[in-house]
């Protein structure tokens, strides 16, 4: 078993009922598992919610996380994408200072990242970017010299490649 701590992407399909999120987050907190990000929404089946959880830990920690998640009565299925081929996306909105001097420069950066400017004021741009976490990080780095005023990220969502579904 590897002792190496690494990032894992887990998906949990859960009953879409009040309190399920509290059960899952409470479990992580009391067992000392670290959540890097958590995204929750309903699925094509309105009775099922899908949680995408990014956690760090070694294999042993991960094994406990998935087993403990499975023990929750309202958790239907847990998938660890770590050793699978999957696509991942995250969406972020970044509000940054933009004045007459640097607007075009910022727009070039935004273009390169295939991001979009979705709101403009006399002093700011709001940029929307979608991609892997690393891509969002990279754009944030490039934009930070201009002065980021506000930023929000959805957290990662993930889906396995190919025809297979959970």
């Amino acid at each position: 078993m590897s002792k190496q701590t690494m990032q894992h992407t887990i998906t949990a399909l859960v009953e879409n009922r009040p309190g399920v999120l509290a059960r899952v987050s409470g479990l992580f907190a009391r067992r000392g598992f670290n959540i890097e990000s958590l995204a929750v929404s309903i699925t094509d089946d309105p009775s099922v919610s899908r949680m995408t959880i990014v956690v760090t830990g070694d294999d042993k920690v991960l094994e406990q996380i998935t087993k403990q998640l499975n023990k929750l009565i309202e958790v239907i299925k847990v998938i660890d994408y770590t050793d699978m081929i999957f696509v991942e996306r995250e969406l972020a909105m970044i509000k940054l200072n933009a004045d007459n001097k640097n607007r075009s420069e910022i727009m070039q950066v935004v273009d390169v990242f295939r991001a979009k400017i979705i709101d403009i004021s006399d002093k700011t741009f709001t940029v929307e970017v979608t991609g892997s976490g690393a891509k969002v990080d990279a754009l944030e780095n490039l934009l930070s010299p201009y002065g980021i005023q506000e930023m929000v990220r959805t957290g990662k969502i993930a889906m396995g490649r190919g025809a297979r579904t959970p």
């Binding site: 078993m1 009953e15 309190g19 087993k67 023990k71 009565i73």
Partner: protein, 562 residues
């Protein structure tokens, strides 16, 4: 037929075969207690503190194998259940706790006697429910009993707002439950079972390590068959006591911190450890790196999360202990006694459990006498502390569900109410609560329901006027600095028994123990308190200090060479 939610609750409980409920009413519980008033099939025991109700339901469940049920009102009634629910959770006891709640329109408004009990009990229940509509009641009750009693058993809490109790519904009994998200594994993986059988055949120094999971799965017969066929010796955990008769030559008694030296030596030196329904608790393993370090480990457990949680496992088998063991028995060949059996027996002869015979009143002697006078048939319930460990060492169990103790949570005050539940479940057996003078004071109020229901439980207090286990640690590891452990200031337990309309007997001398026990056994219509004034600073030995290995096992200095 239109009935109200409270009536549907009572009907649903009857439908589940519930016979006994331990509880206390309150404002929002009135509709439920009103429905109970008309019900002939449910016997309700009115407790004096909700914690007592939870422990009584727990003791009832452990002694009967059925689901224990307790009632409490909203707010403080519900929060008083918390320790009892946590206790049942840690020891995997099937229980359904039903709490009243303020009406749905008052929820979340800090209403009078409102507490978010589903939020509070999330980490200490297997599952819990807040019912929002009366017509959910039959389904939720059926689910709750299913969840509490299957897979790894555990407590389930159901919170019922008062307007839900008063709401109406068309009652239809719910017979079966199918939850897409809850499918406990019963049958073990055949390949793993075959591997385990092979490992058993190849082992030279095997040991069985048996826990409470064997008792909750009613798998004692399978353990006995496995042990007898293979001559594999059996060490049990505190909760596993009785999984095999401790009179059986293959029984090594309890292992762990205060386990027998020979059980611990056997585990430390074995080459195959077969863990069944046990969870490698720190009180069992001590220092993990040194625990069974020469051994290949087979782990059979119904809860996959227990496998590999603390100890690496070579052959994991997830499944119901009874089912897995029966399959395993199809593959296991008879083995003869070996040199290893002889070696462990030598350890047993060399390091037996013992205590001084200088004429003093020793708790070990008292417990042996209790075991003897009841022919080893009594149900032994304990509180938590030194007396609990002495009971584990010196009360020899013959059968499963005979030893009832708070293992995981270590709840002082558990014993007496649990003894009430056990006596209700097993009316024909003698029930002893082996208690400490500290523990017994934590739920002493439950003497009243025991008296009202004429339960002849015997409460044997090992009275050393100390919070003795903490004192022992302070003596051994904290330079004898006895901080906060002297409880010389205490009630006169004989008078206290009498004040509660029970029988009280004080014993100061070893020669009076038998007489006192005979007297207690003759009391058949009320509880008896036996106040044994034992040697004050007697310690529990052997002891492996927390987090250490069998190498560091302590035995009393003054007894060396004996």
């Amino acid at each position: 037929m239109k009935i109200n939610g409270a009536q549907a609750l009572i009907k649903s409980l009857c439908h589940q075969g519930v016979e006994n409920i331990f509880g206390i009413p309150g404002g929002v519980m009135i509709p439920i207690y009103d429905a109970l008033y008309d019900c002939k099939d449910l016997k309700h025991m009115l407790m004096r503190h909700e914690q007592g109700g939870a422990h009584a339901a727990d003791g009832y469940a452990r002694a009967s194998g059925k689901v224990g049920v307790c009632f409490a009102t909203s707010g403080p009634g519900a929060t008083n259940l918390v320790t009892g629910i946590a206790n049942a959770y840690m020891d995997s006891v099937p229980m359904v706790a039903i709490t009243g709640q303020v009406k749905t329109t008052a929820l979340g408004k800090d209403s009078f006697q409102e507490a978010d009990i589903t939020g509070i009990t999330m980490p200490i229940t297997k599952h819990n429910y807040l019912i929002k509509r009366a017509d959910e009641i039959p389904q939720v009750i059926a689910e709750a009993f299913h969840i509490a009693s299957t897979g790894r058993p555990g407590p389930v809490l159901i919170d019922i707002p008062m307007d839900v109790s008063l709401g109406t519904l068309d009652y239809k009994p719910v017979d079966s439950v199918d939850l897409r998200s809850y499918k406990p594994t019963v049958a073990g993986h055949p390949l793993q079972i075959a591997k385990a059988a092979k490992a058993i055949a190849a082992a030279e120094r095997p040991v069985l390590y048996v826990g409470g999971g064997v008792i909750s799965a009613n798998a004692s017969a399978e353990i006995l068959e496995l042990s007898e066929r293979t001559h594999i010796l059996v060490a049990t955990t505190l909760l596993g006591k009785g999984a095999i008769s401790e009179m059986h030559p293959h029984s090594l008694g309890m292992l762990g911190m205060h386990g027998t030296a020979y059980a611990n030596h056997a585990v430390a030196n074995c080459d195959l450890l077969i863990a069944v329904g046990a969870r490698f608790d720190d009180r069992v393993t001590g220092k993990l790196e040194a625990f069974a370090k020469k051994a290949k480990i087979i782990h059979i457990d119904v809860d996959p999360a227990e496998i590999g949680k603390t100890v690496r496992v070579d052959i994991p088998i997830v499944g119901d202990c009874k089912s897995v063991l029966s399959e395993l028995l199809k593959h296991v060949q008879p083995r003869q006694e070996t040199e290893w059996n002889r070696q462990v027996m030598e350890w047993r002869n060399k390091f037996p459990l013992h205590y001084p015979d200088d004429g003093g009143l020793y708790p070990q002697y008292i417990i042996e006498q209790i075991s003897e006078i009841t022919n080893g048939d009594a149900i032994c319930v304990t509180e938590v502390g030194q007396h609990q460990m002495w009971a584990a060492q010196f009360f020899k169990c013959k059968y499963a569900r005979q030893f009832i103790s708070s293992g995981g949570l270590g709840t002082m005050g558990f014993g007496m109410p649990a003894a009430i539940g056990a006596q209700i479940a097993q009316p024909d057996r003698a029930v002893f609560d082996i208690a400490g003078d500290g523990s017994i004071q934590m739920n002493i109020q439950e003497l009243i329901p025991a008296m009202v229901h004429k339960l002849p439980i015997k409460i044997a207090i090992m009275n050393n006027q100390y919070l003795g286990m903490v004192r022992q640690w302070q003596e051994l590891f904290w330079n004898g600095r006895y901080s906060g452990v002297d409880i010389t200031a205490q009630p006169d337990f004989v008078k206290l028994a009498e004040a509660y309309h029970c029988v009280g007997i004080r014993v100061d001398r070893a020669e009076d123990v038998r007489d006192a026990l005979d007297k207690a056994m003759n009391v058949t219509d009320r509880p008896t308190i036996l106040d044994f004034r034992i040697a004050r600073e007697e310690n529990v030995y052997p002891m492996i200090p927390a987090g250490q290995s069998v190498e560091e096992m302590m035995v009393p200095g003054r007894r060396e060479g004996k």
